[in-house]
Amino acid sequence: MSLPKASLIDIVTKQYLYKLKANIDAFSSLIGIQLLALLLSFTGSTSSSMGGGDVSVEIQYFTADVIIIFTLIWSLVTAITITTKPNRKHEFSFVTNRLSSSLSNIMFLVTSCIIGGVTSILAGNLLRVVNFLFYERDYYSLSDDSHIINEMAVAFLYLLLMSSIGYIIGSLVQFNKIFVFLIPAFVVGTLFWGGYTQKEPFLTDVFQFYVLETIPFLFVLKIVLTSGVLFTIAIQIFNRLEVRR
């Protein structure tokens, strides 16, 4: 008598499909958060007013920036949420181990990043349409040669980075609850330390490392490598957890 041998790929695929169904509400919150960002962007993502004498000029810029930033926050929160105990409990109805669980989680997060990246850029189009139809002013488009696919790809990469950060935060918290206090303390502490030493906070340097990168290949490499390393560390942390912890 022989027992059927399940391959890792099959298990991960099944778990991934299950997680897509089980975590469908994550996408409802994505819609909610993007609509909230849209509402906040209706009067312009940024604006400037100036004038003198008999002339006043008010320029409002309409971009998807706020929507993308809100989606980044959503991505971070979703990645943290997926590591929580209630979410992990669902998996015990499957043939599973820590590795297959983490891989299916990462696949779910990558899918959510693709959806988040595409919808956030398309929501920028909705912002333009609503303003153009309902808000009377002279509209101009700032000419540039950017392509929507490039915008979506960059948004996806930023979301992937945020997901990997969220996932490692979630794994650290599951490993030891003390990280609930340590991580915010580290973030706030570096900001205060930067102010105390009169230098740019460490997190600003980290932020600039990605945001100021203008070479596409290096940008992709930085994000993919960082996310890969963070996800790998998170998988290792989950592997060290006791069963059903």
């Binding site: 996408f27 909610g32 609509l35 320029i59 700032l142 000419s143 960059v154």
Partner: protein
């Protein structure tokens, strides 16, 4: 009241109602259906909006940022040329209004309703008995956008022995559709400039030699040296 003003309230009410209904019924299957319905509706709205984008882009003008003018230098240069009467040497783009008036009175009173004090350069001419008026302006650049074409020059009205400089209050509101920061990732573009320069108007009058000028309140006059 603009429709946009009530749009956020309507949207919030709409989603609030959906959430209340979902919460009241509290059945997982219903929530799943709502979620799917929401996703489909949202995707449809986003795709529909994206379909409108080429139409909107066709309706809006494309703008490019221009290099900001050194306002101080341009003002000094313009002032020098106006003071010397060398109006032929002034950049023709600075001339935004020109008019000519038949005038036979001995005295001209100049009044203005402008909030800023207009500086008027007066050249006395022996060649004709008309009054020629030229309105100059240093190009107005806001956030790197050239807005000179949007500004109305001073309106000049002569009634009996009075020249009125009529300035209308202008509120220019612009909406700029710009790409998100993700589109600018691979470009070494500076961000929004938030700067403002130019826009001051100068009036140059060529008047008969013997015309007496009386400047009203809030009007500054500079006579050209013969």
């Amino acid at each position: 009241m603009s429709i946009l003003a009530i749009l956020p309230i309507v949207t919030l009410l709409f989603f609030g109602c959906i959430l209340i209904i979902a919460f009241k019924l509290g059945k997982q299957i219903f929530i799943l259906k709502i979620t799917h319905w929401l996703l489909l509706a949202y995707t449809a709205v986003l795709l529909l909006a994206s379909g409108f984008i080429p139409v909107i882009m066709g309706e809006t003008k494309s703008v490019e940022r221009t290099a900001a003018l050194d306002e101080g230098e341009a003002e000094n240069e313009l002032h020098e040329k106006l003071s010397n009467g060398d109006i032929g040497e002034i950049n023709p783009d600075y001339l935004i209004g020109e008019s000519n008036y038949n005038y036979s009175q001995e005295m001209l009173k100049i009044d203005s309703n402008s909030m800023s004090t207009p500086l008027i350069y007066i050249e006395r001419s022996t060649e004709n008995h008309d009054i020629s008026a030229f309105v100059y302006m240093i190009p107005m650049v806001a956030d790197g956008f050239e807005l000179t074409g949007k500004l109305k020059p001073y309106q000049l009205e002569i009634e009996e022995n009075k020249l009125s400089i009529v300035s209308t209050r202008q509120d220019i509101k612009l909406g700029i559709f710009s790409s998100s920061f993700t589109a600018k990732q691979f470009k070494r573009e500076p961000g929004n400039e938030y700067s403002f320069s130019g826009g001051s108007q100068y009036l140059y009058l060529r008047v008969p030699e013997d015309l007496k000028i009386e400047a009203g309140e809030g009007v500054s006059v500079k006579y050209l040296e013969g």
